[in-house]
Symmetry: C2
Subunit: 374 residues, 2 copies
């Protein structure tokens, strides 16, 4: 492949299948899909998700909100609780026409938002984060603070748009039953929070849930209005182990070149180390530990039992996953051989690259820009 | 601090002490220092290393060679075995006046270099990588291949500049005795390789060794001409655990803002997750596991026993390292509080940021650009 290595490859046909699968699933459940763009951070990808029927985007940073708004995406949920010092940038975006919703999970943050809104004669759009699995931020569905926050926002002149939750602990599961149970826990907890707000006379039009594993596992999404998911667009080895995709669904890989061997150890050394793959070892405690990645040939065909067993900054050590030294590896992959490495965690690997090289229909390899930073 | 979070902070005074310490150590040993710029990837940092007496630079990618050459650094060692397809870019740099040395550890790669040199009527500068600790690339000092590679290069018209090694396994050590022994193993192995080449009538003017731990631990460096080290300029928690620096020597930190709490769990949640810290968990198997980083106040004073215990993409969970839930954490660090987080691995954390905010003498906070990619 005439592409300098290491490079982040995106198999477009594979990605389009992933997009269609999630969109179709959401259509079946009768809910909107608001893709989380933090995985690809690429407008070319998001445009394909919108064309397939997605509705708005979710972002993890204000930089994403700014970049995507500049590219024409105006319906944006910033799904990390707002630091009051960031309201300047939120306000600037909203005044330019971006329908940017912010998130709070405390009375203190809600007060900061309404205080700023009053001072600026501006009604911020706000959602309340609900904690349905104990893994991170949010108020518990039955916490008294939920109504306090809602009341502060409502009385303070903010627009209370609804509740949202993210069952991130679904990443640690790996059976259909456990995933279905977690999806139901996420759904019912978030719906419960919405019902409490409404019963207290507070508005709650939106009920937003989601993670890739729960989105693909839920039996029904009654009471939910929208689902957020991000990594499904590329998938990765963590998702393979969770059980919501197969190896051939992973649309992102790192193209690498063999630069040497240690034949007695059964090592081929490639020019993609952790700087290319990231330090993410997400499969370490899963069913199959893929080291720093699963090794495929240059066309993306998985090479059974071969992984990137170790990584230095710019060196990756390709070896058998079972630890057996195969001295024939040097003959099998001579210096100059290109390999594709599937990543543990697409979000972490993608961010190591400034752009994607896309394996497109017809053999073209266009470049799609991605961005990073805050 | 009036800096948007998360941000990568560099304490300039601390960095200057680290630079002076390593330079003075190399002066004592009577060897040149060729800093590895892969850690900071920043010309402002490298200029300070050069001003302190460093001689040339080491790079891990051709992008680094190109960027630093454009900034006036012409003496460059590319310390990753060359992929033959990259010789185009090497040649382009050399023809523009960059004294760029490439590395090989096999007859196959040496032949690729001399073949290309013959076709282009160009004598490449080449070093041979020697494996002194079994952790990665290189030929063993007593391997017959060493002389074969040297002969191919010499007969093929390349300029055989010498031998180099990197005892990366020193990162796994944590006692002065073990570090001194590894430094001596690295030194003696590389000198042994040089002596074998010379005894065979081959030139070997340079003997280049180094890693931050061995550079700071060697008793003597007889026979060595230059030392390479990178991470010492910032240091990090891995180096604290190795025992070659203290917490107050760590010049790089991530500035973060508290955005919420889970008081019953003793969590403060900050707006710096693994996207800011990187996924590097280098202290996981060391004496002290700092999670995703050690927590300091906004002025950089370590807060005893507090770490970033867990990280999501844009969320960091600050908690007690001993796992005890401290419900008072919400009162101690209200929403909006800024904290500094020291990184496990400076190379991995720095690459998550496009620039450094520098805490300079006199209270200024200039911005220094860094770059990434290949």
């Amino acid at each position: 492949m005439d592409i300098a290595t290491p490079a982040a490859l995106v198999d477009e046909a594979c990605m389009m299948r992933n997009i269609a699968r999630m969109q179709s699933r959401m259509a079946t459940h009768g809910v909107r899909l608001r893709p989380h763009v933090k995985t690809p951070k690429c407008t070319e990808v998001a445009r394909r998700q919108q064309a397939a029927g997605a509705s708005g985007i979710t972002v993890s940073t204000l930089k994403e909100a700014e970049e995507f708004f500049a590219a024409g995406f105006a319906d944006v949920l910033y799904a990390v609780c707002i630091a009051p010092a960031k309201l300047d940038r939120v306000l600037a975006l909203r005044r330019r026409g971006c329908a940017l919703t912010v998130l709070v999970d405390s009375v203190v943050a809600a007060e900061a938002v309404v205080d700023r809104g009053r001072a600026e004669h501006h009604a911020f759009d706000v959602m309340i984060e609900v904690d349905t699995d104990g893994h991170r931020s949010g108020v518990k569905p039955d916490d008294a603070a939920l109504l306090d926050i809602g009341t502060v926002l409502q009385r303070g002149g903010a627009t209370l748009k609804g509740v949202m939750t993210h069952a991130g602990s679904s990443y640690a599961l790996d059976t259909p039953d456990a995933l279905r149970a977690m999806a139901e826990q996420e759904r019912s907890g978030c719906v419960r929070a919405a019902e409490r707000l409404r019963a207290a006379g507070l508005p709650c039009p939106e009920v937003s849930v989601g993670s890739t594993p729960t989105a693909l596992s839920a039996r029904h999404l009654d009471g939910v209005t929208e689902v957020r998911a991000g990594v499904y667009v590329f998938f990765d080895l963590v998702m393979v182990n969770v059980g919501v995709c197969a190896l051939q669904d992973v649309a992102l890989s790192v193209l690498a070149t063999v630069i040497g061997h240690q034949p007695d150890k059964g090592w081929a050394i490639v020019d993609a180390g952790w700087m290319a793959m990231s330090r993410d070892r997400g499969t370490q405690r899963q069913k199959i530990d893929y080291g720093y990645g699963a090794v495929c040939d240059v066309n993306g065909r998985p090479l059974d039992g071969l992984v990137m067993a170790e990584a230095n900054q710019e060196h990756g050590i390709v070896a058998r996953r079972d630890g057996v030294a195969d001295p024939a590896i040097a003959g099998r992959f001579p210096i100059g051989t290109q390999l594709r490495i599937l990543p543990n965690h697409a979000c972490a690997t993608a961010t190591q690259f400034p752009e994607y090289r896309v394996i497109a229909q017809g053999g073209a390899t266009p470049t799609w820009r991605r961005f990073d930073g805050w």
